[in-house]
Symmetry: C4
Subunit: 195 residues, 4 copies
C-alpha cells in the first residue's frame, strides 16, 4: 500500500472512532526524504490518497502540491525530527481533552495493562501522559510538545485541543493513539466512581 | 455527485452518528433556484436520492413531488434565506438537547480548539451556542431560530428537540454539525467532572 | 424484500446499535396468516433469512421448521394480537433497563420532540413509558405486557430485561424502538445533570 | 469457514466493539489436536487468517509458524484444558476493567435477564463474576484464572487488564464476552444512579 493510501485509511479509521469530527485532526508519515501530511480542511471520512500533501521534513509543502497541508504539519515535523519517529497522528479525542481538564499537569497512570500499548510497563511504572497548553502559533506549540518528551510517553495531550501520538510507522502511531484514548477514558471512569 | 445523492449520503452519515434515530432529523441543500429537502417520515438509514423533495426557497413542495418534504422544511428555508447559507442539517443529537437542559440560556464555550470548526477563534473568544424554545408552529420556530443569529454561531439548539446547523455547502453544514456536537459533549463532560 | 429478509436486516441493525449482544433480542413480523419470528439462540449479527421461523399467530412453530423460534415468540404474538400491530421488536437496550431501575413505576417524559416518534405529542402530553416486572413464564410475561397497554405507548420496558416495541410494519416498530431508546437515554442524562 | 478465518472475523468484531484497541486482546480456538491463537502485536482490525498461529494444547507455537502467538496463549490453553471449552476470547473491555476497580472482589449480579447469556438463571441466582489480580507471569496469571473457575461463570476479569471468556465454540465464547460486557456496563450504570 502506498504511503498516501495509508494516510487515507488512517484518517477514515480515526474518523470512525469519533476523533476527527468536522475536518479536525491530521496524520503524517515519512516517505523517503519527504513528509506526507493530510490536506487542510478536508472531511476525514472522505479523505483519499490524493489529499496526501508532500512536504519537506520541516512540514512545508513542496512546489506544485494541489492542496495545502494541515496547519499543524509543522508540529508533526518537529515531533518526527526530535523523536526519530516516522509517523504521527493528531486527533480531537474527547477522552484526552477532558482528561487534560481534570488533570492539567498530566494524566498519571499505573498498574494497567494497556500501558504496554505505549511502550511502558504494566506494573511498577508510574506514567504521566503530559499535558501542554494550546497555541495557535505552530512554532510555540511545537516547542511545547517537544518540551514534554521527557515524560517518556510517545504522545502528548494539548489542553483544550487534542492528542498527538507517534511511532516507528503509521501502524504504531495508530496503536499508540488508541491506547492513549483507552487510558484517558479509563482514568476518567475510575475517577468518576462512587463515592 | 448530484444534490439528491448528497442529501442521501448526509442522512446516512447522521444516522450512523446516532443523531437521526426513528426517522428524526432532516437535511436541505440549494439546487439552482430550488431547495431540496429530505422527505418526511423516512428512515434515514435507508433514505436515498429519490427521497429528496424539490421545494421553493420557502420550503414548499413544487408540484408533482412523490413525497412530502419534512415539516421542518420551512425552518431550513428561513435559515438559508437569512444567512445566505446553501445547506442546513437538523439532527436530534442527545448532546445538544442535554446541554440545552443544563444551560437553558445558551451553551458558553471558550479556549477550545474545536470552536474553529464553527468559524470562531480557539482563544480569546467567548462563544455562546444559542438555545431557543421548541414550537410545533414552523413560523414561530423559524422566528426563534432567526432571532438567535446574533450569537454569531452557524447553528442553534432547539430545547427539548435538537440542533440546526448550516453552511456554504452541505460539507460545511455537516462539519459544523459535528463540531457543535463535539462542543456540547465536551461542555457536559467538563461540567460533570469531580468535585 | 421478503419478510424473512426484513427480519434479518432488522436483527443486524439492532445488533449494530448494541441492543442484541450475545444472541439476545428477537424480532417478529406478520406474513399472511402466520407470524415470522427470529430463531432462538442465533447471533444477531449473523442472522439471515433462513433463521426466520414460521409460527402460528400464537407464536407456536409450524411443522417442519428447521429452527426453534425465540422463547419470547409468545409475547410477540400476544402483543400483535392485542394491539393490531404487524411487527414487534425486543431488544436488550441498556438505556431502557437502566431507566427502569431508576424509575420502577414507569419513565415519565414531557416536552420533548422525540415523543412524536412514539405517536405522542411533543408538548402538553405527559407520557409514561410503562415498566413491568420480568418473568420466565411467557404467559405471565405476556399478561404483564398486555396489562401495560393502557399507557398509550407502543412499547413497554421489562425491568431487568429489555424493551418491547411494535408497529404497523417492521419499519415502524424499529423507528419506535429507536425513539424509546433515545427517550430513555435522554431521561437518564437529564437526571444525572448537576446539581 | 476455516478455524483461521473464524479467528480473524472474531478479532475484527471485537475490534469493532472497541475492545481490542492498539493491538490489545487475543482469541483462540481448538482445531483438531492443536490450538490456534492470534498472533502477537497485530492490529485486530487488520488481522486475517494468516495471523492464526498453530500451537500445542499448552499454547506453545508449533515449528515453522511465521508469527509468534500472543504472549497470553498460555492462559488460553490453561482455561481450555481446565474447562473443556474449545475457544476463548480475551478483550480489553473498559466496562470490565472499570467494574473490577469498583468491585475488586467480584462483580455481583442478580435478577437480570442477560445472566442467561452466561449460562446462569435470570432470577434466584446470585452470580459473582470473579476478579483476579493481573500478572506478567503467564503461569501465575493462568493459576489465578483457574482459581476463579469455582464461581461458575464462563469468564473472569483480570483487574487493571481485561476480560477472558470461553465457550464450547467460538460463537459461544463471543456471545459470553458480549454478555459479560453488557452485565458489567449495566452494573456500573445502576451503581451510578442518583442518589
Amino acid at each position: 500500500m502506498s504511503a498516501e493510501q495509508q494516510l487515507a485509511i488512517t484518517s477514515q479509521r480515526m474518523f470512525g472512532l469519533g476523533w476527527m469530527r468536522g475536518t479536525s485532526g491530521n496524520v503524517s508519515v515519512r516517505d523517503g526524504d519527504d513528509l506526507l501530511v493530510t490536506a487542510s480542511g478536508v472531511d476525514k471520512a472522505a479523505l483519499d490518497a490524493t489529499h496526501a500533501v508532500r512536504t519537506s521534513m520541516l512540514g512545508e509543502a513542496l512546489p506544485g502540491q494541489p492542496y495545502r497541508p494541515s496547519a499543524e504539519a509543522r508540529v508533526h515535523a518537529a515531533v518526527i525530527a526530535a523523536t526519530g519517529a516516522s509517523a504521527a497522528v493528531h486527533v480531537h479525542a474527547l477522552s484526552a481533552v477532558v482528561a487534560a481538564s481534570r488533570w492539567p499537569t498530566g494524566v498519571t497512570l499505573a498498574d494497567v495493562e494497556q500501558l504496554k500499548g505505549i511502550g511502558r510497563a504494566a506494573h511498577g511504572d508510574r506514567v504521566t501522559v503530559p499535558v501542554v497548553a494550546n497555541s495557535q502559533d505552530m512554532a510555540e506549540l511545537s516547542d511545547r510538545v517537544l518540551g514534554a518528551l521527557g515524560a517518556g510517553v510517545p504522545g502528548v495531550i494539548v489542553a483544550g485541543h487534542g492528542l498527538y501520538a507517534w511511532g516507528g510507522d503509521l501502524d504504531e502511531a495508530v496503536a499508540r493513539t488508541e491506547s492513549l484514548d483507552w487510558l484517558c477514558e479509563y482514568a476518567l471512569r475510575i475517577d468518576a466512581l462512587r463515592p
